[in-house]
């Protein structure tokens, strides 16, 4: 009898538990309940006399927003784009949004650059792709957009939007056949950085120009050698355990002798050019620079901050701001452009914005568009959204970082922004092939053989699309 009771108990346990878990699949971390809207939507835009354009381009979705049918639950997945990866900041921006649109519930998941892509890819296959995702054109346009998973954002790209947003950004946000899959929010130029204290002690500061933030390839070599001789065994690392932060290694290799990553039309990979091979051979031969297959960009940043490395190749304004805020840096950071022979660095740009996965629900898509419109176009919110990323706006919002010394220092790198080649076909595969190539070079494979293999793989992926 006792056993029967136990079995019954166990069974009912399972039943109750199954009830418990049945529903817990649909959403992410819930946001605090939105406060009731203090004012109707248009009231938020009272002070837009200065720039009538922006109110005009936010008009269309706002009108539909007033409709009660717009109530929807949407999910937003963000990569750590500055503080867009920090739940506190994002929650406060979402409560701004809910103050205007109380019926749209946004739940947020935070991705990382190591596994984020795998996570979205499994979610797509699991039919639970997020509605909104915050990332750059290389994923939104060249990867998921090209695979037909994204919603055409043409109606957000009104003529006004087109006239305001910088042309280079605009062309990056649309696919080869002219469909917009991203609505951009912010951008930056990825730089590198050196540990000024160590460089000073090693007498290596003479090799770089602190005011312009540039140096020549020859001086870069001398500086690294000086720091190495000074006793810093690990000056810098060509990190290659995965794709995280690979913009740094790409920019470093391309800049050293003026190579390019793709051709100008973004149809073919050109990493096997003589300039790139020469650059890789140089890096391989330098004392103090290791090809480290056990770390990725994020690790390199941490290890630069804790003094293990004297240089970081994966760097930008946000890295310095976040790490300084968290008290991780106790030395003087000197941001630098990548070394070149010509003196004209071509920095790798980052453009971040929103894309919408086509989950087949028009209400959710409309709600997601409203969200984008609010975050990127609302007069007040746009500034806050961009500031949250610690990057620069993609259109003229005035000097939003007025009085911010750090951001002013980094602003000098924006003019060095190079070609945004990340929209080339087969990008996801090419990135994977890239770190595999670096690992090969690091473990002694002939540079030419390794880059040829990389280019073959990458071009095959590009033409398959």
């Amino acid at each position: 009898m006792k056993k029967r009771k136990f079995m019954a108990l166990a069974l009912s346990c399972v039943m109750v538990c199954s009830l418990a878990a049945c529903g817990s699949k649909d959403t992410g971390t819930s946001q605090p309940a939105p406060e009731p809207a203090p004012a109707p939507a248009p009231a938020e835009k009272t002070d837009d006399g200065a720039e009538s354009d922006s109110s005009a381009d936010s008009q269309t979705p706002t009108d539909t927003a007033a409709d009660a049918s717009q109530a929807a639950d949407i999910t937003l997945w963000t990569y750590p784009v500055g503080n867009w990866g920090d739940s506190e900041t994002v929650n406060s921006m979402i409560s701004n949004f809910n103050a205007v649109y109380p019926d749209i519930h946004v739940t947020v998941e935070y991705l990382d650059y190591t596994n984020g892509d795998d996570q979205i890819n499994t979610a797509i296959e699991g039919k639970q792709a997020p509605d909104l995702v915050l990332e750059g054109p290389e994923r939104l346009v060249a990867n998921w957009g090209a695979k037909g998973l994204m919603v055409d954002l043409g109606d957000l790209w009104t003529d006004e939007a087109k006239s305001l947003i910088y042309d280079s950004v605009q062309s990056a946000c649309k696919s080869n056949d002219g469909v917009f899959y991203e609505y951009p929010l912010c951008m930056t130029a990825h730089t590198m950085a050196v540990n000024r204290d160590i460089f000073e002690a090693a007498g290596a500061l003479q090799y770089l120009d602190e005011t312009t933030g540039t140096w020549t390839t020859e001086n870069f070599q001398k500086a690294v050698q000086a720091v190495y001789d000074y006793g810093q065994q690990n000056v810098g690392a060509v990190y290659c355990s995965g794709q995280g932060g690979d913009q740094g290694t790409r920019a470093l290799i391309n800049n050293l002798y003026g190579g390019t990553f793709t051709n100008a039309e973004h149809t073919e990979y050109t990493a096997n050019s003589e300039e790139n091979i020469k650059a890789l051979e140089l890096l391989k031969s330098m004392d103090g620079i290791n090809f480290d297959a056990s770390i990725a960009g994020g690790d390199e940043v941490n290890m630069f901050c804790n003094g293990t490395f004297a240089m970081a190749f994966c760097w930008n304004a946000t890295q310095e701001k976040n790490n300084a805020d968290q008290g991780n840096i106790n030395f003087d950071v000197l941001p630098m452009a990548f070394p070149t022979e010509s003196g004209e660095p071509q920095l790798c740009g980052g453009i971040w914005g929103f894309g919408i996965f086509d989950n087949g629900d028009p209400a959710k898509i409309a709600a997601a568009k409203t969200f984008i419109d609010f975050m990127a176009n609302d007069e007040k919110q746009a500034v806050e959204s961009v500031k949250a990323s610690n990057f620069w706006p993609v259109k003229d919002l005035g000097n939003i970082y007025d009085g911010d010394a750090l951001m002013s220092e980094y602003a000098k790198f924006i003019p060095y922004m190079g070609d945004y080649y990340q929209v080339v076909g087969g990008w996801a595969e090419a990135r994977t092939a890239w770190w595999n190539m670096l690992q090969q070079v690091g473990s002694g494979t002939d540079v030419k053989t390794a880059v040829e293999e990389f280019v073959t793989t990458a071009n095959a992926a590009a033409s398959a699309q």
Binding site: N121, K147, A293, S294, I295, A428, E429, W435, Q439, S443
Partner: protein
């Protein structure tokens, strides 16, 4: 067995109905979540399947490509290395440890048993992250101990160096797989018929002879069982690879398991990944069939 012959048709029917009634709950899960996906796996392996596109039938193209894919062949080689190294080492090591500790005083024996079992219960993720730290090029204790004792000249990037990475993975795998065999061997050795051992000792057999002639045959079934479970475990080594090396450097730690994952979620090649799964399943099926035959013949 004479009863079987006289079993009436009605009885057979009754037994069948009852049999399947008892089997039903388990069969639902087994067929639904093991057999059905397996059938699907075989089926899709003949297609070029990718994200958000109709699958295209390609016949044996995936399989043909598979055996020309250097990375796959490398992964196959690594998988074989892991199994071939870790299975015998686990068995021999755990047999040696057990043969030493099984007749120690009770608490000592169970303390040892418990400690060797700890890495098993700690869990693969926790184990992986702590070893990642210990193997770290810059702050790892292996480099600290190595350089301070003069065993190594300068810091070695254990997990980032083609020459060492696979070895490191196998080492970690070993620490997490000897726990169970030790428990098994200790109890098997305790169950050895003592009278036979004593008789042999009276006859002047050395300890060593005693072990090989008397004990070894008696613990043979345990050994076979350990072989089977260790082989399965070694094939399933995924978390370590994914968390520690992602198959790198230069594909030196790619295993088929990881390469399937890599193809599915980094390259979006589902059909190709499935073809690998089929090949692996065949290899494992053959291996376990052999092991079961061995077990049966004993």
């Amino acid at each position: 067995m004479s009863k079987n012959n006289s079993m009436s048709k009605a009885l057979v029917r009754r037994e069948t109905i009852a049999g399947y009634a008892f089997m039903l709950p388990s069969l639902i899960f087994f067929l639904g979540f093991v057999i059905y996906p397996m059938v699907q796996c075989v089926f899709t392996s003949f297609f070029d399947a990718t994200m958000n596109r109709e699958d295209i039938f390609v016949g044996f193209a995936n399989y043909i490509e598979l055996f020309q894919d250097k990375v796959f062949l490398g992964a196959l080689k690594n998988t074989v290395i892991i199994v071939v190294v870790s299975v015998p080492v686990t068995c021999i090591f755990s047999l040696w440890v057990s043969s030493v500790i099984y007749d120690l005083a009770g608490p000592a024996c169970s303390a040892f048993r418990c400690i060797f079992y700890l890495p098993v219960v700690t869990g693969s993720v926790a184990v992986a992250v702590v070893w990642k730290w210990m193997f770290n090029n810059y702050y790892g204790i292996f480099n600290y101990i190595g350089t301070n004792t003069g065993l190594i000249e300068k810091n070695i990037n254990w997990l980032g160096d083609e020459r060492f990475a696979l070895g490191c993975i196998i080492l970690i795998l070993l620490t997490t797989s000897v726990g169970q065999p030790i428990v098994l061997y200790v109890s098997a050795l305790n169950n050895v018929d003592q009278s036979l051992v004593e008789a042999a000792e009276v006859d002047g057999a050395t300890k060593f002879q005693c072990f090989w002639k008397i004990k070894w045959p008696q613990i043979m079934p345990t050994t076979l069982y350990i072989l089977v479970i260790t082989t399965i475990n070694s094939f399933q080594c995924f978390a370590l690879i994914q968390l520690l090396t992602s198959g790198g450097p230069n594909h030196s730690t790619d295993t088929i398991m990881y390469y399937i994952y890599y193809n599915a979620f980094k390259l979006y090649r589902y059909g190709y990944g499935n073809a690998m799964g089929v090949v692996l399943a065949i290899i494992i099926a053959v291996l376990s069939a052999v092991q079961f035959k061995m077990a049966e013949s004993k």
